[in-house]
Amino acid sequence: MSEITTDQVAHLANLARIALTGAEIEKLTGELGAIVDAIAKVSEVAGVDVPATSHPIPLVNVFRPDVVGPTLTAAQALAGAPEHDGSRFKVSAILGEEQ
């Protein structure tokens, strides 16, 4: 069994700014636990001789040249914004600050 606890799920929900009820936390704890157990089975198969990877495709160094391409106009950029002032996105006042 996995070691996922309700405290961990509540913490994650808080970090992700998702309000969960106690029942939802219980349910998700079980579901996340099942996922972690499933992943753990992969670890059993991959021995120490298998290097960790972050990508399924064996590719490295995919770059683009430093050449300017087309950009959006401000109107295009703002087209999907719930609120804007004509040139900038408008968001509710944020408690917190840049990282």
Partner: protein
């Protein structure tokens, strides 16, 4: 904390050892952004230098800018770092609208460069080895403007406006290891370290490195260890230091503030602190803990970066000389005395003076103007000298002096005009009518007038008291508001004395 509550700096050093650490962010001056082909240009109309990638729109995918990788490797090598054979990008998850994706692409456990060393020289000749933990690549965030409330800051704001032009600009963050032993030199070491980093990136040509524009930003970490305790104190991280002199002042302030709290039996809160340039104090920001949970994980949209040894060696071979070696060479080239050269190093204007010389000025004049009048004006305005004028403007000013078109006194007025945005030195001369009057007719008329009120001057000169001419020269300079060539006035007065 009010100034009166701060502990005296020397007293604080008696009781505590300051422990430092720096995080310096460098904006690279590539043509395009880190992960998109939008122009790397912050400014202009909001939300115009962006692509779907910079907005994190669904279906858009980042692609790494090859030039930014090369610049980052060059910087890592210049910092004496090892370059990681394989490095990865990671997502740093946080909720703040300065990035639209809800995460910043950064590097976490596999930074491109690590384990370096930077040699930093202080005014008193002390040489410090600052150990570099890592230099990693990431993207800059957008700019928020808080609207409403009385202060323009976050507290009390009604809403915020976001411009993503800066989002995705390539950054390298340089992180030092903990720095012990700086003692009373801690504030100066902070300034000298940032100045050295600025010199390095400018000599590499990879960043405009202007602090006042945010191309180079320093977060200064500091804690105090009670003498003899051997325990690390709680640290604060001071942000918003936008000039070299602010770095020095902010560290000094934090030492005095923390010492005052600790001496009274208080505790330091681990938090970010905002430096206020105008009042010279820091104020509390966000509480910060070592357990900040950004849930880093490998960026699935990007592939590992594995620079070849050949590329690394090619970039290493192209590195400019190290700052300390460069300083020794420039000192010899310029023929400055130890004292004169130390003056230049302390001023943090080595690069400016070098560029001014490259633009045709003599080293002596370049030093005189940068460390003299320009530094004085910068101090008075509480800004860095580099934000006032460019090296090419100073070189032009010096050329006008050396050609005889300007006296030093006039040049100071021209400088003021250039700084207040009236144009190039030549334009200010024309606009303000400041050129030296070399027309003998105008000079002679003014001399006649001066002699009329001091008729015995010529007699004194004929008696061998040549210094008496000074009174006439002074009167002429005053009457012509400094536009007279004093040397020529003197010649004319002496000629008159021998002729009559």
């Amino acid at each position: 904390m009010a100034k009166a509550e701060l502990m005296d700096f020397d007293k604080a050093l008696e009781l505590f050892e300051p422990v430092l650490g720096f995080e310096v962010h460098i904006e690279l001056n590539t043509k395009t952004k880190m992960f998109s082909d939008a122009p790397n240009f912050f400014g202009g109309e909001p939300n115009t230098n962006i692509t779907p990638v910079d907005l994190g729109l669904p279906g858009s995918l980042p692609v790494v800018n090859e030039q930014a990788i090369k610049y980052s490797i060059s910087l890592g090598l210049a910092l004496g770092c090892s370059i990681r054979p394989s490095s990865r990008f990671a997502r740093k998850n946080y909720f703040y609208p300065d990035l639209a994706k809800n995460y910043q692409i950064s590097q976490f456990d596999e930074p491109i460069a690590f384990d370096g060393n930077v040699e930093v020289e202080l005014a008193n000749g002390r040489v410090f080895q600052v150990s570099i933990e890592r230099a990693h690549m990431e993207e800059d965030a957008g700019k928020l403007t808080h609207v409403g409330g009385s202060t323009g800051r976050i507290q009390g704001a009604e809403y915020s406006l976001v411009d993503y032009n800066r989002a995705g600009v390539p950054l390298v963050e340089i992180v030092t290891n903990i720095i012990y032993g700086a003692e009373k030199d801690a504030p100066e070491l902070a300034k000298a370290y940032v100045s050295t980093i600025r010199d390095i990136v400018r000599s590499l040509g990879i960043s405009d490195a202007k602090m006042e524009r945010g191309n180079l930003r320093c977060d200064a970490n500091i804690s105090l260890t009670p003498r003899g305790s051997g325990l690390l104190g709680t640290r604060t991280e001071t942000k918003n230091v936008n000039s070299l002199r602010s770095v020095e002042r902010a560290i000094r302030y934090e030492i005095q503030r923390q010492a005052a709290i600790l001496a009274k039996g208080g505790t330091i809160t681990q938090e970010t602190r905002h430096w206020h340039e105008d009042t010279g104090v820091t104020s509390a920001g966000r509480p910060k803990s070592d357990a900040d949970d950004y849930r880093y994980f490998p960026e699935p949209d990007l592939l590992p970066v594995e620079p070849s040894l050949a590329l690394i060696e090619e970039l290493r071979a192209a590195l400019p000389e190290a700052p300390t070696i460069r300083r020794r060479r420039l000192k010899a080239d310029w023929g400055f005395t130890d004292l004169e050269f130390q003056d230049v190093v302390n001023s943090g204007l080595l690069v400016e003076i070098e560029e001014t010389c490259a633009a045709g000025a003599s080293p002596a004049q370049a030093r005189k103007w940068w460390t003299g009048e320009i530094a004085r004006l910068a101090n008075a305005a509480e800004v860095d000298a580099t934000s006032l004028v460019s090296a090419s403007q100073v070189a032009e000013l010096i050329a006008l002096i050396e050609s005889g078109a300007l006296t030093d006194r006039l040049a100071r007025q021209v400088l003021e005009g250039v700084i207040s945005g009236e144009g190039s030195p030549a334009e200010v001369v024309a606009l303000r009518g400041l050129a030296v009057v070399s027309d003998d007719g105008a000079l002679i008329a003014a001399i006649d007038e001066a002699l009329a009120s001091q008729p015995d001057v010529l007699e004194k000169i004929r008696d061998g008291r040549v210094q008496a001419a000074g009174a006439v020269i002074g009167a002429v300079m005053k009457a012509m508001k400094g536009t007279a060539d004093a040397a020529r006035v003197r010649e004319l007065v002496l000629e008159r004395a021998t002729a009559e």
